[in-house]
């Protein structure tokens, strides 16, 4: 299957700190890949790196990004890709809609094709229908819509130009259960109908399992595990993934004591020398302290842990 996006050894940071280290992954056609991790692990940063929306003080230190098999690392052509071939949706829908303009106006603004007004209108009504929104929404203002409807409007804006990749940064975190459920199903349908791939960032690994084909687990700026969604959830290999799933209340009997992860997430200014999870890991070995584990292919999983092989980071 065609490769839509490839990140090769991407590191992001500046002279003082490294926010992302050696990020490697591929997203194929019609795939939903979730990046899972806790606050500060770098998952949102990864999305921002792909379309060059990093904060001013951070930049790509090395590595390459390929979109549809073309290298885009220098971001010279990024204006043509952003909003057109790669769409993005965010967490708080109300923050990303301009309160002064109608939904119709805002979606129209997103259309990049040079077509006349009549065609644009038709296109907008069509997409509103597909999002499950009534045609009246065209004339309404953001504050007149519920959170779920706002998010659907934003998705409409993100995919109206038929992108091949959608970046979703925690789009359902701020929404109700039933509303979120609807949005997730909508996204799944879009993948089938529009030949779309999605990178879905979330802190909720159960949600990741529900929506995606593959899960990527990140910790302290590094990918620690990657594999089929169900397999990762049911049989986590990396100690961090194991502990993460071990925090979920649904894995316990009523009121059983939840096994928590001791210690704190390391700050970027104070990263451990070796494996970033070393201080909190219950399987730690001597080699983990000063060496960063390299990529290992283990039972159809990509994993970075010395437990599964003594391969160092090059």
């Amino acid at each position: 299957m065609k490769e839509i996006l490839k990140l090769e050894n991407i590191s992001v940071g500046n002279e003082e700190i490294k926010i992302l280290r050696n990020i490697n992954f591929i997203v194929k056609e019609k795939e939903i890949v979730s990046i899972v991790g806790e606050s500060g692990c770098g998952k949102s940063m990864t999305l921002r790196t792909i379309i060059n929306l990093l904060p001013k003080n951070l930049r790509i230190l090395n590595g390459r990004i390929y979109f549809e098999n073309k290298e885009i690392t220098d971001f010279k052509e990024i204006e043509k890709i952003r909003g057109r071939k790669i769409g993005m949706i965010f967490q708080e829908p109300s923050s990303y809609l301009n309160p002064l303009f109608t939904i119709g106006t805002q979606i129209e603004e997103a259309i990049k094709d040079q077509i006349d007004k009549e065609e644009k209108r038709n296109k907008i009504f069509k997409i509103l229908k597909e999002m499950g929104l009534s045609p009246n929404v065209y004339y309404q203002y953001p504050h007149q819509l519920s959170g779920g409807m706002q998010q659907r409007a934003i998705i409409a804006m993100a995919i109206i130009n038929n992108p091949s990749l959608l970046l979703a940064d925690e789009p359902t975190t701020a929404l109700d259960l039933t509303t979120a459920f609807g949005i997730l199903n909508l996204l799944k349908n879009l993948v089938l109908l529009h030949n779309l791939s999605i990178i879905f960032v979330t802190h909720d690994i159960s949600l990741a399992r529900f929506i995606s084909n593959r899960i990527i687990v990140m910790y302290a700026g590094m990918i620690v595990e990657e594999g089929d969604a169900n397999l990762v959830y049911n049989n986590p290999l990396h100690p961090y993934t194991e502990k993460l799933i071990g925090c979920l209340p649904e894995k316990y009997k009523k009121r059983e004591k939840i096994k928590v992860i001791e210690g704190d997430i390391p700050s970027y200014r104070n990263l451990p020398e070796g494996c970033p999870f070393y201080p909190r890991c219950e399987y730690k070995m001597g080699i983990c302290e000063k060496n960063i584990p390299g990529k290992i292919n283990f039972e159809n999983r990509i994993i970075r842990c010395f437990k599964y092989g003594k391969i160092m980071e090059s």
């Binding site: 806790e38 606050s39 959170g147 109700d176 259960l177 039933t178 509303t179 979120a180 459920f181 997730l184 802190h203 909720d204 690994i205 159960s206 949600l207 529900f210 502990k243 993460l244 071990g246 925090c247 979920l248 209340p249 649904e250 316990y252 009523k254 009121r255 004591k257 939840i258 096994k259 928590v260 992860i261």
Partner: protein
């Protein structure tokens, strides 16, 4: 089992002025429910269901429009604030957003001390330090300000504050919704430990069904200001009757 709370036909309406007309939003519609000593009562609903408002109205932090609130056997609905204040120490509340529930201008130690009304200043400080230890915050942090703590730590301080008056009942309003899943586990453990230690009763408000299933003895489902179903947790999950409960359970991810 001793009954702690009985709520009868509790209602609350907000008037919202929008576009030249006054809209009346009925946030709570004739709520009836009971909470018994020692239980964890889970109140489940989505945003707009009124569950957060219910928690605040129960403790009369927001005044109800009609209905009765009975604590143990005392009708506290219309008690003047001066008298109600004497009962307030028995029931406390913990809020959802740890970034907003602490006064940014007060040190965490002082925040906890405010609820302690007895004892000399030295004794109050000692008790506050004890409470901090109980929730896992070291004594060196006594004089720090909220912005110097992480979200999980702030939530712990809020819990310590709730415990400062030796309450027997605590309303927990979505206390883990803004926290990472690993921190959430720690806080849930803490809640259970404290329940054992101090024989606490909780009203646990949340939209997260998995937490409710894990924690609660009984569950109430709220939809648009009404309680549509109440029952034992296991029964509700295995045998939901109301269509909304069924819809909620279907959205389980």
């Amino acid at each position: 089992m001793e009954r702690l709370w009985k709520v009868e036909e509790l209602s609350k309406t907000y008037e919202v002025k929008s576009e030249l007309k006054k809209e009346k939003i009925r946030v709570l519609k004739n709520i009836n429910l009971e909470i018994f000593k020692g239980e964890i009562f889970g109140l489940v609903g989505e945003s707009g269901s009124g569950k957060t408002t219910f928690g605040k109205v129960l403790l009369r932090l927001i005044e109800p429009d009609s209905g009765k609130i009975i604590y143990k056997n005392i009708d506290i609905t219309n008690l003047p604030e001066k008298i109600l204040r004497k009962y307030r120490k028995n029931f406390q509340i913990i809020f959802q957003d740890p970034y907003k529930s602490l006064n940014p201008r007060l040190t965490c130690g002082y925040t906890i001390m405010e609820g302690i009304h007895e004892g000399s200043k030295k004794e109050k400080i000692e008790k506050a330090i004890e409470l901090l230890n109980l929730v896992g915050i070291k004594r060196e942090n006594f004089y720090k300000f909220p912005h110097q703590f992480s979200g999980g730590e702030r939530q712990r301080i809020a819990i310590a504050r709730a415990l400062s008056t030796n309450p027997e009942f605590i309303v927990c309003d979505e206390p883990t919704s803004n926290l990472d899943v690993s921190i959430q586990g720690q806080i849930l453990n803490l809640f259970l430990e404290l329940k054992e230690k101090f024989n606490l009763t909780y009203l646990f408000i949340t939209h997260n069904l998995k937490i409710v299933k894990f924690l609660a003895d009984r569950v109430g489902i709220m939809f648009k200001g009404e309680i549509v179903e109440i029952g034992k947790t296991e029964e509700i999950f295995e045998n939901p009757k109301h269509f909304y409960t069924k819809k909620l359970l279907e959205s389980k991810i």
